[in-house]
């Protein structure tokens, strides 16, 4: 299980591939489900040029570890990879990668979705967007 908060841009598909090659035995899993969330260049009808993501150091890491451990246990996962950006982002940059490996697809799909929804609703991150009129804090996440 790897959980990391990243201050610099990351390449999600390369991270996924490397993690699988290094930590999962060939033939040991039947499914990997992954979600990559990335920054849009629009929100609430306005163009967004930049975004700043902040977190509650200490609490956020603990939350991410807990939700990953919960999914590992609930779905009998073989492994989890969870990366989340903080700092200043530009449109198209990845924000989050959640990946779950399991023996079968149902567990992988459901675990990936559960971890993502739990992260969105509970993990202590906050977004501030730059738009033409200035900066604004994102008030709430869009429904999944």
């Amino acid at each position: 299980m790897r959980i990391e908060i990243c201050r610099q841009p990351f390449a999600p598909w390369r991270e996924l591939s490397q993690h699988q090659d290094q930590h999962l035995a060939a033939g040991s899993f039947g499914a990997c489900a992954a979600l990559v969330g990335s920054m849009r260049d629009f929100n609430c009808g306005e163009a967004v040029t930049r975004m700043t993501l902040e977190h509650y150091a200490g609490m956020t890491e603990r939350q991410l570890r807990q939700l990953a451990e919960q999914a590992m246990h609930q779905y009998a996962l073989l492994d989890v990879l969870l990366l989340h950006r903080i700092g200043e982002l530009r449109p198209s940059e990845p924000i989050v990668l959640v990946a779950a490996w399991a023996a079968h697809r149902a567990a992988a799909f459901n675990a990936c979705r559960d971890m993502m929804e739990s992260l969105k609703s509970r993990a202590t991150f906050w977004k501030k967007e730059s738009v033409a009129s200035g900066e604004r804090w994102v008030q709430a996440n869009t429904p999944g």
Binding site: M116, F125, W137, N141
Partner: protein, 76 residues
């Protein structure tokens, strides 16, 4: 003998400060901490944590605890 109080995101920006130290009192709750540092009712969507875990405003606060206040989260 104090409580460490932290603010995040829009709340930190509104208050113009990241953290404050507050003298601990007997039978103190998270609501007491908020009242002491802000002197106003909590916004309806205000969230709080004590020692890195979500909590509610009735939670007792011990000397040395870290209490945080913040708006709804928007990660992912």
């Amino acid at each position: 003998m104090s409580v460490h109080v932290k603010y995040f995101a829009s709340l930190r920006q509104q208050l113009g400060v990241e953290s404050v130290e507050l003298a601990h009192r007997r039978d103190m709750t998270v609501a007491d901490v908020w009242q002491a540092v802000s002197r106003q009712p909590p916004p309806c969507n205000l969230l709080c944590a004590c020692n890195l875990q979500y909590t509610d405003f009735k939670q007792a606060v011990a000397d040395g605890d870290e209490v945080a206040f913040f708006p709804p989260v928007t990660g992912g």
